[in-house]
Symmetry: C2
C-alpha cells in the first residue's frame, strides 16, 4: 500500500529569509500593459530577458516560446536557446572571442544576431562569417542620446562604411538598434515622450541613410522600458525591446512609468534587532539580498536600499531601508517623516521593494511565486547567473 | 592502448570574460600579514568567511581546517561545516525562525554560537535551548561605535539582564562580540589606532560588567579589517575577526590599510567598443560583474566602479570604470587627469580592481586562480551564494 504524504505548501510565514518574492498577478498585468500598448502602435515586442534570467519568466513575457528575445550575455542566449527560443539579439557590442559561441548557437538552429558600432568589429564579424561559411547577422548600434555605445544617427559616412563592411564582405546586415538609456533620468510625460521620439527618429534616420547607400536594413529596433511605454508613434520601427517592465521597480515608479503598486518583485526579510534610540529596526536583508543599487539616490524621492512593506506587500508610510551592510538592513523612517515606526518585534516579517529589479534579482537563485493577497507560495522558479 | 590527451591550461588570454581572477600570491601575503600581526598581540584569529564564500579560500585563511571561523549566513555555516569546520560564530542577530538550522548544526557536532542584543532574543534562545536540551551558546553584541546593532558598553543593566536571561534560563552565555564598522570611514594611522582601541575597550568593559554581575564571559571577540591591522594592544581580548583582509580592495587601500598592489581580486574584461570623442573605452564588465558597490565614492580618491589594470594586473595611470550598465563598463580617465588613454583595441583584455571585494566576489560563481606575474590559471575554486 502506498503511504500518503501531505506536503504543506511554503508560505510567506515559513520561507527561509531573505528570499525573493514574485507577485505573478502584478507581473502578468505589467506584461499585458506593454503588449497592449505595442499592439496599438504596430511593432513587435522583443523583450529583454536579462531582468528575469528565468525560463518561466521568459515564457510569460515573450510573444511565443520561440521568441523573439533580447539578451545581455551569451549564457542567457544559451540557456534560453536550450528552452526553445530561436530568435535572439545579443545586445552588447561583440568581441571576436565571443563569436565561437555565437556560431555554435547558429549551428544549433538559433537565429542569433550580434550588435556592433565600428568598422573594426564589422570586419571581424565578416571574417568569421567567411571562415565559417555562415553569414552572421549584425545590427549597427545607434547612439540616440549619447549615454553609451553607438554611431550617431547623422554620422552617415561611418554608418555606411560599417554597413558595407558587413554586407559586402560576408556577414549579414540585419538592421539598426538603439537604446534610449538617457530616458532613465527623464521626468514627466513630456520629457519621456520626447525621449521616445528621439529614439525612434535616430534609428529611422540611420536606417534611411543605409538604405539610401544601397545596403539593406530590414530591422529597426528601439527600446527601453520608459520609451516603450511613452512612445506615441513608432513609424519606421519594426520592433521594441524592453526588460524591466515585467517586474518594475522603485526607479521606474520614480520616473513615473509605473505605480509603486505595480512592482512585482520584493525581498522577504525578518526582523533581527532594534536600536530604539536611533529609530532603527534591523532586518536580515542587507545589500547581499537587495544589491548595492541606489538608483533612487538621484531621484526626487530617495528610497534608500528599498521601500518597506508589510508581509502582504502594502507599503508602510515613509519606511525605507536607510542603510545596508552585507547581511543587515537598517530600516528607518525617511528623514523629516512625521510617521511612527511600526511595531515589528524580533521575528516579524516585511517585504522590501527594490530600487532596481535587474540588480536585486541577480542576488538570488530563484523566485518564490505568490498571487496578490495570498500567503501561499504557488511555485518556485529558478534563476541563473553568470556569463 | 590508452589514448593520450593534452589539456591546455586556460590563461588570462583564453578565459571567457567577464570573470573573477584571484592572485594567490597576493592572497597568501595578505593572510600571512594579519596572522603575523596577531601572533605578536596574542588573541587568536577567527576569520570572517563571508568575503571568500569558498572552502578553498577558507582553508587558507583559517588557523586550522576545523576553524575557528565567523559567518554571515547559515548557508555559509552549513557549507563550511560540511567541509569540516567545527567552531563557528554566526555573526548576525538571531531570529527565532533560524534556530532550527542552528540546532541541526549543533546536533551534527558543530560548535556554532549565535549573537543577540536584546532580552527578547535571549529568552527565545533560552526557550529553544530548554526545549531541545541543548545549551545554545550566545554572545552579546556590543555597540562600540554606534554604526549598527548592539548594547552600549555602559548599558550595564541591559547587558546583565540579557546575560542572566541566557545563563540562568537554559542557554550558554559564551561572551561578548563587537565590530568597529565605523573604522571604514576613519582615515590615517591615528584615527585607525583610536578605532581599534575603542573597539577593544568597549568589548572589555562589557565583559567586565558581566563578570562583576556574576555571570560568565569567557570570549571577548572584536574585529574589522582596519582595526585588526591597526590594533596596538589587545589586552582582555580573546579573539579577532576580520574578513576582507584576505583579498583587500580599493576601499581598504583608500583607508590606508593596504596598498593597491596588495589587492588580490580583479575582474578580467574584454574591450567591446570605443567612443573616442568622449574618451570612453567600453568593456564587457558592467555592474553585473563589478557589483553596484561604490564604496570609494565618499573617499578622497573616487575609483568609480573600479581601477583598470593591464592583463597582468599593473594599474594604468588614472584609468577607472567611470560608469556601468548591466553588462557594459565605461572606462575613462579620472576627471582632470593629464594622462592619455591607453591603446586598447576591440578584443583587448584588462583587469579591474574592485571597490569592495565582498560585493564583487558575490557576483561570480568561482575564482580563476593565478600567480603573480603568470598568465596561467592554476586552479578553479568554486564560490557559493544564497542563504
Amino acid at each position: 500500500m502506498a503511504s500518503q504524504t501531505f506536503v504543506e505548501k511554503a508560505t510567506l510565514q515559513t520561507l527561509e529569509t531573505p528570499c525573493l518574492i514574485l507577485d505573478a498577478d502584478r507581473m502578468e498585468r505589467n506584461v499585458r500593459r506593454l503588449k497592449s500598448h505595442l499592439t496599438t502602435l504596430g511593432p513587435r515586442l522583443r523583450p529583454h530577458l536579462k531582468t528575469g534570467k528565468s525560463v518561466e519568466v521568459a515564457r510569460r513575457v515573450m510573444m511565443s516560446d520561440a521568441g523573439p528575445a533580447t539578451v545581455s550575455t551569451l549564457k542567457e542566449a544559451e540557456q534560453f536557446a536550450a528552452a526553445g527560443v530561436r530568435d535572439i539579439i545579443y545586445a552588447v557590442g561583440i568581441a571576436p572571442g565571443k563569436l565561437g559561441r555565437v556560431l555554435a548557437l547558429r549551428a544549433a538552429g538559433v537565429d542569433i544576431a550580434v550588435i556592433l558600432d565600428s568598422v573594426e568589429q564589422a570586419r571581424l564579424v565578416a571574417d568569421a562569417s567567411r571562415k565559417s561559411n555562415t553569414r552572421i547577422p549584425a545590427l549597427i548600434e545607434i547612439d540616440c542620446d549619447g549615454h553609451r555605445s553607438g554611431v550617431l544617427p547623422d554620422e552617415t559616412e561611418r554608418l555606411v562604411e560599417i554597413g558595407r563592411a558587413l554586407h559586402e564582405e560576408g556577414a549579414e546586415l540585419r538592421g539598426v538598434l538603439t537604446h534610449a538609456g538617457g530616458s532613465y533620468s527623464a521626468r514627466g510625460r513630456d520629457a519621456l515622450e520626447q525621449c521616445a521620439e528621439e529614439e525612434r527618429a535616430g534609428a529611422v534616420k540611420a536606417a534611411k541613410a543605409l538604405r539610401e547607400a544601397g545596403v539593406p536594413c530590414p530591422v529597426v529596433s528601439v527600446g527601453s522600458t520608459p520609451t516603450a511605454h511613452f512612445s506615441q508613434d513608432l513609424t519606421g520601427v519594426t520592433e521594441v525591446r524592453a526588460g524591466v517592465f515585467v517586474f518594475f521597480d522603485l526607479v521606474m515608479s520614480g520616473i513615473g512609468v509605473c505605480q509603486v503598486e505595480d512592482i512585482a518583485l520584493s525581498v522577504l526579510a525578518t526582523v533581527v534587532g532594534h536600536q530604539p534610540e536611533k529609530g532603527w529596526i534591523l532586518v536580515d536583508a542587507g545589500w547581499m539580498a537587495m544589491s548595492r543599487d541606489r538608483g533612487t539616490a538621484k531621484q526626487e524621492l530617495d528610497q534608500g536600499y528599498g521601500l518597506v512593506c508589510d508581509v502582504h506587500g502594502k507599503p508602510y508610510d515613509d519606511l525605507i531601508v536607510a542603510d545596508a551592510n552585507q547581511e543587515h538592513g537598517v530600516i528607518a523612517l525617511r528623514p523629516g517623516s512625521k510617521s511612527t515606526l511600526p511595531d515589528l518585534p524580533i521575528g516579524a516579517r516585511v517585504r522590501i521593494l527594490p530600487n532596481h529589479a535587474c540588480a536585486t534579482g541577480a542576488q538570488h537563485d530563484g523566485y518564490h511565486v505568490v498571487r496578490d493577497g495570498s500567503d501561499v507560495i504557488e511555485a518556485e522558479w529558478p534563476r541563473f547567473g553568470g556569463w
